[in-house]
Amino acid sequence: MRAGPSQEEIRRHNLGALLRHVHLGGPTSRAELTSRMGLNRSTIMALTADLTAAGLVREELPRETGRAGRPSLVVRPESARVYVFAFDVGVDRLVAARVGLGGAILDRRETVRRRGPFSLEEIVGPLAGFARQMRRKTRPDTVCVGAAAAFSGGVNRGNGVVRFGPNMGPAEDVPFAEEMTRRLAFGMPVKVGNDANLAALAEHSRGVGVGCRDLIYLHGDVGVGGGIIVNGQLLGGHAGFGGEIGHMVVNPKGRLCGCGSLGCLEAEVGERTLLEAAGRVPGAVSVATGPGAVPVAAGPGAVSIAAGSGADGHETPRSGADGRRERLIGRDAVRAVVDAADRGDIVAQAALSRVGDWLGLGVANLVNVFNPEMVIFGGMLREVYLGSAAQVRSRLAVDALSASREGLRLRTSALGDDATLMGAAELAFAPVLADPLEALARAGS
């Protein structure tokens, strides 16, 4: 029989638990920590003292006044001192950020990516450059305790090898984690996770899904990604490729998906489909409403699309070289469809209604299989859900089992555009939250 945990193991565990509390919950009084962690006051004091000595937290009098009685000291994370690098590789953008303990974004760099096949160098080069720029600006007393990236595509859990998603390039294995680690050369490994998986975890730990043990997150970024959390744990599957909700086939006679199948959820509700149905992709046929016969979409890359969004997020349709008006893409384009529908554009309304119908069908299937407490719509699906909720929920009322949908809450992402990035940050913070002193020692060496 294995002996019980040693004193040292218990202390290590408690240090991590306390740090996690203030990392996720923000400044917390000792009294609150005592009751929430179920430990006695003197233990909390000792743990806090250790974490303070290590420079991970700081104790302060609470700022708020006005309440009677002696205020309890508040334990705050050392957000400005202890940080990680978080990266987000989306179809349209590359983001690098320095995120402080507690979850504050301290610094960030972002570049718009022109759509088309990715090469490893095109991703790693800018991200590593951003990280070095940001690192040069840090004060000498700061410490980087981890680095991680959210990647829009399949990620092998074992070795961080990624497989480009259908919207990113040819389906080949690429040693992304290894290359990021080598190029950063910060003396620590860069971890990698699927972007929607990580966003699901971020919403679960510090977003709209706090307190939910079973939730499903759907992420719209050209295609549709997903993260399924079952009993508090991310469902990774055998090799880490689990949760690809976007490739659940909902319409076998439907539209051609980038993955080669017909009628995947992402082929029926993705950005391209919505824009085509709304008559907003040049050269595309407007798509009939309702789940009837629909024209099969041209393959990816067949239509010329330009990044039409200015840095300020305003709509800036531009003229192509051939004089044809190139259209908005991405979030701005989706928002423009919802906006048009709201102002009475019948084609836009029909497009949203059709997409909402398929989205509702997909969610109904998920609800019947997983009986989640919450389904979260993130990325572009936030706009799509808000603009087609009547259709989505009508489908659910009809197609989901009443027992499975009872108590179901449908929500939009609380972390918004930063959900994937924050998910990467959480992945990077994992070691310091598991064993604070050891992780810090490793980072300092």
């Binding site: 708020e64 006044t65 006005g66 709209v208 928002r335 919802v338 906006d339 709201d342 936030r382 706009e383 859900y385 808000l386 603009g387 087609s388 909720a389 009547a390 259709q391 989505v392 929920r393 009508s394 659910l396 009322a397 009809v398 009443s402 949908r405 009872e406 179901l408 449908l410 929500r411 939009t412 609380a414």
Partner: protein, 254 residues
């Protein structure tokens, strides 16, 4: 779960015209109740009865399970009912903090200093994840429609309201601001408040509501769980007062 607010058998006439007929309506904490109905169905009148602006002709009014008398807006406010009317009662020439405390300080007999008011306002906006206003010392006249709604809603939260009623808060807003207001509405309910949302937009209604109450010609046609109905059923309830087994029979609640 007991409703925080419940009306039973409300009748209301303006002169010879009866606008509300035997209306039952209940509102639950932690939920968004959408109040829908065609123009002239009586939604705003019902809300004004709840808020003590109109006296009802007959009917019962329960708050937290107890019978109460509402004779003025002040009575409703004392109970913790906050109503954001279509024409927002914000003062353009005052800043956000001043607006959030307007008409409140003396009522509760508290005198607050500027710093405390500023901090309370800031913390309330932060608790609602409102990041759209640049400075809380900004004049309300410089705010967009969505930001004004946000301030009006935040005011309700600041004063620990239990019931917040929003009469068509997204009617004049663009899509981006509508999304923000809808998410704020949802967050209020998720924090435990009872929220009533009046809206003509069925996507807004389905996006955030837990229940739908449909008024038809001054009668409550049905109050249903949003998860149990389809868009088509709700439209039928609004336009004809009934849909299948739901709704009015011969103009009377089933």
């Amino acid at each position: 779960m007991t409703p925080v607010l419940e009306l039973r058998g409300i009748d209301k006439s303006f002169g010879p015209v009866q606008v509300l007929h035997d209306v039952d309506f209940s509102v639950h904490p932690g939920e968004v109740t959408a109040l829908v109905g065609d123009n002239g169905a009586g939604k705003s009148t019902l809300v004004k009865c709840i808020g003590g602006i109109h006296a009802v002709d007959s009917g019962e009014y329960f708050f937290d399970g107890k019978t109460v008398q509402i004779n003025s807006p002040r009575d409703a406010a004392e109970l913790g009912i906050e109503i954001v009317y279509q024409d927002l009662a914000l003062c353009d020439n005052l800043d956000i903090v001043q607006n959030m405390f307007l008409g409140r300080e003396h009522r509760r007999g508290i005198v607050l200093d500027e710093d405390t008011m500023e901090e309370m306002a800031a913390r309330t906006l932060e608790s609602l994840s409102v990041r759209t206003v640049k400075s809380i010392r900004q004049h309300v006249s410089s705010l967009s429609g969505g930001q004004r709604q946000t301030v009006a809603i935040a005011k309700a939260v600041l004063w620990n309201s239990k019931v917040v009623i929003l009469d068509e808060p997204t009617a004049a807003l663009g899509v981006a601001q509508t999304a923000q207001v809808l998410e704020l509405v949802r967050r209020l309910a998720d924090q435990g408040l009872a929220v009533v949302l009046i809206s003509h937009n069925m996507n807004d209604v389905f996006a955030v509501s837990d229940r739908i109450a449909a008024l038809y010609l001054g009668r409550m046609a049905a109050q249903v769980r949003t998860s149990d109905v389809t868009h088509a059923q709700v439209v039928e309830l609004i336009t004809s007062g009934r849909s299948g087994d739901l709704g009015l029979t011969n103009g009377v609640s089933a």
